[in-house]
Amino acid sequence: MEAFVRLFVALDATTKTQEKLAALVDWFSRSSASDAAWSLFFLSGRKLPQLVPAKRLRALASTLAEISPWLFEEAYAAVGDLAETVALLLPTDLVEPAEQSPPKAASGGLWSVDHGPLPPDSGLAAWVDAYLQPLRGADEATQFRLLKRAWSQLDPTGRFVWNKLLTGGFRVGVSQSLVTRAVAEASGLPVDLVAHRLMGEWRPTAEFYARLVSTEGDQVDAARPYPFALAQSLVPPGSGAPDTLFPSAIGQLPGRPEDYLAEWKWDGLRAQLVRRSGAPLLWSRGDELLTDRFPELDSAARKLPEGTVLDGELIAWRDGQVLPFTLLQKRIMRKTLSRSILAEVPCSFVAFDLLEHNGIDWRSRPLRERRAALEQLLTAPQAERNAASEQAPAQSSTIRIAEAFYGKSPSELTALRAESRERGVEGLMLKRLDAPYCAGREEAGWWKWKVDPYTVDAVLVAAQVGHGRRANLFTDYTFAIWEGETLVPFAKAYSGLTDAELKEIDALVRQSTVDKFGPVRSVTPQLVFELAFENLQRSSRHKSGIAVRFPRILRRRTDKSIRDADTLERVLALLPSLSSAAVPSRERGETISRQRTFAWAEPNPEAGDAR
């Protein structure tokens, strides 16, 4: 554990990628396979299912620190992180509780609850086995004993790291790709191979790590997907650049229009369909196996030849139309898929790339070739199969090929993009036809050109202290727009301002506080901000009647008084008409944040958008 804490300190002490990489390489070179496996698990943002309820953890920490619960909460508000708060509050000289029962012989190499304290210099895996895993499902007294025992052997930094493993969310500013590079460097394997072996589901065991760094063959588990290619934004995120910049943004892409293929940017769930031997598998970008969630794909997937891997997007699709993302989301949230939901929200896989063909890895071939083969695979034979089969051809396959546009001029692309909202897509994707399929954002040669966000001028009406880097500052804002003479709260936004702006607004919030409700302060309405939204939808569940998606703050409108802020009427007028037949009326406007609710959402928050 001590060594892992030192790794954390080293990673935390620097912002330089090279130094982080060096620390990681050193760690992976020295660690045992089981320690390496567990560190990989935590460093890649994975977490164990909840071990100790946060409430219980707070209670225990308050008791040990001899402070009242309200004081714990004040401390938490100032720190902004539960693991850190607990570490800062625990008494330094926490005495290891007296032995409850004599040590028993270890069985199967596992430390049981009743064993004596594990020395702090034992490995991460031993600590996880001794103090973390046994917490699950244990009674309160046992949990207290285990926690106290672990804490009593660690210094404050060690306690913080431990609490992070305990509560989940262990992030130290290292990306998945950096960790992958470090493992590759420490083991002398190519990065691509390590990345590929890390895809899909795995358990943090010594065996897994041994396989990961094995130099034998390059065979990869038949179930594994490939690392996903990512796209860069044509417009820097958060820039809120006006419309007129976009054509020049395309103009700045290297090469000529003929070098590119354009596709719709689907508003769905990115996935790979792996059809090797055995049953087809569907993987999300967050390494979640989705196969069972999309039974309607199974038969179509089985018709694909063995040794096929497709990259594409899962979308809700009915009657020749894409359905709003919220419906797909709703379906995914369901524990069981009823017949009615399958009928209401049928899904399709829109394939846009071919990564493996006839059992051969095609990723190094140019997109032009991959796309041609994909068309061959999905169009021609599909038609033949459909024609040959007895089934009604009206029921088209649930695996469809993404529409592609070749050699469009910037003006044609601009016109296409303008159709996005109407078509229920997020904009256009532009992909270089000569590029291989590369994991990562820079190398792939993919660009996303999203539809312009909705923008609204809104009034700041409440604020809350942020977390992490924003702890201690009022940085989480609630915004309102006018409905008649009333300001109706309609959106919360956290991102988009610089640190300097945050500090300035923080001071203004403090000066204009009207009331406090727990951590929230309501303020005198006086500041107007321009907000941008990926999407706005009508919603009966929200006071304002509007559900917002991915809000961000574009800028403060010092030139506007609160009277100049937008009205609800105007905002509603922005929204597309509700005539879209595809949307069942009672489902309209149900919006839940994608990032918060999707269990397989990208563990790395910086990654943001899925493509």
Binding site: A78, G80, L89, N472, K503, R510
Partner: protein, 351 residues
């Protein structure tokens, strides 16, 4: 927050210019220009220019003179020396915060009020150690008034700073250590191991060093930045510099640098990361939570006014223990945690 009540026998009351002792005809740390100002210490949020006469301690006088300007009229007295001002007796007692920093004790017919100013209880072996002054009413700061603030021993932090300096040296990086020019910088200087390499001080730190020397605390083994040799190997050096000098404007001539920041605020990761520094050292000149709470109780005061920091938290904590505790709105800092964040900002006052 309610202003301090204005009961007749109050020895101090809050006026637009600050804390006023009517019976004595003087202010304590006023924020407006007044006739007579008793100053706890020379930090910008406690000592402001423009008053006709200042009173401080002997060792605190040189620093105060520098900050108030050569024409300011400053009288000084010894720690513990009792003087009579109007109808009250006034004495100054060590606050342990910076050199010459004082608590102001005001006595009238057996009633004793003490204004703590900023204070630190653990001795740092550099400035006059804190003295506990029993009183009826205690006006206390609360900068670090949360139980998450518990300072580690100074020796441990010094060892950490020196280890970091060595480590930077071995990686060919220049060490830039940030701390408030008055008080913190001198504590840093006192802890640096001269055998590691040369120590340079920013001009504003050097000025305070000289004032410290004039006040009786001589720090040796450092040079002004401007006195560095023409082809200085910066990678061996450490530069003691105020927070203002941190940020995007690190001169390139130092080559690759690593920045450290000494402040109690460095306790929490969020603030460390926000300030984009490489290392934070929670070396503070203020009382931590155990010191604040135990000192307040130990003064025996039945009434406590809390200012300057986590006011509400400390008031509630004291109230729970049966004390008559009230917030006091001064301009030494606003209520709420974020002023604290502001305090690490350039020039915002003591840290």
């Amino acid at each position: 927050m309610l202003p301090m009540s204005m009961v007749r026998d109050d020895l101090l009351r809050l006026t637009p210019s600050g804390l006023f002792c009517e019976l004595g005809g003087f202010f304590v740390d006023p924020w407006g220009p007044v006739a007579k100002a008793v100053i706890t210490h020379a930090h910008a949020d406690h000592a402001r220019r423009g008053s006709a006469e200042y009173l401080t301690t002997h060792s605190g006088k040189p620093v105060l003179q520098t900050r108030m300007g050569p024409n300011a009229t400053i009288q000084s007295i010894a720690f513990g020396e009792q003087i009579t001002l109007g109808e009250v007796r006034v004495s100054l007692h060590p606050a342990g915060h910076i050199l010459g920093s004082a608590q102001v004790r005001i006595e009238h017919r057996g009633e004793v009020w003490v204004v703590s100013g900023d204070y630190k209880v653990a001795p740092d072996h550099l400035v006059e150690p804190f003295e506990l002054v029993p009183c009826n009413t205690f006006i206390t700061e609360s900068t670090f008034g949360l139980p998450i603030y518990r300072w580690r021993p100074q020796a441990e932090l010094y060892a950490e700073i020196n280890a970091w300096w060595r480590e930077n040296q071995s990686q060919g990086k220049t060490s830039l250590i940030h701390g408030y020019s008055l008080g913190k910088a001198q504590r840093i200087l006192a802890g640096l191991d001269r055998t590691i390499g040369p120590i340079y001080c920013h001009a504003s730190v050097a000025v305070c060093n000289r004032d410290y020397a004039a006040g009786g605390v001589v720090l040796e083994g450092w040079r002004m930045l401007s006195e560095a040799p023409p082809r200085c190997d910066w990678s061996r050096a450490i530069i003691v510099t105020p927070p203002q000098a941190h940020g995007g404007d690190t001169p390139h001539r130092y080559g690759e640098t690593s920045s450290g920041f000494c402040s109690g605020w460095m306790t929490t990761r969020g603030i460390r990361r926000r300030e984009s520094i490489d290392r934070g050292f929670p070396l503070s000149d203020h009382a931590d939570w155990p010191e604040l709470t135990s000192t307040i109780l130990a003064t025996g005061a039945e009434r406590v006014y809390v200012t300057h920091g986590s006011t509400a938290t400390l008031v509630r904590w004291l109230t729970e223990r049966g004390l008559d505790a009230r917030p006091l709105r001064t301009q030494y800092g606003d209520e709420g945690t974020a002023d604290d964040a502001v305090a690490v900002e350039p020039g915002a006052g003591a840290n």
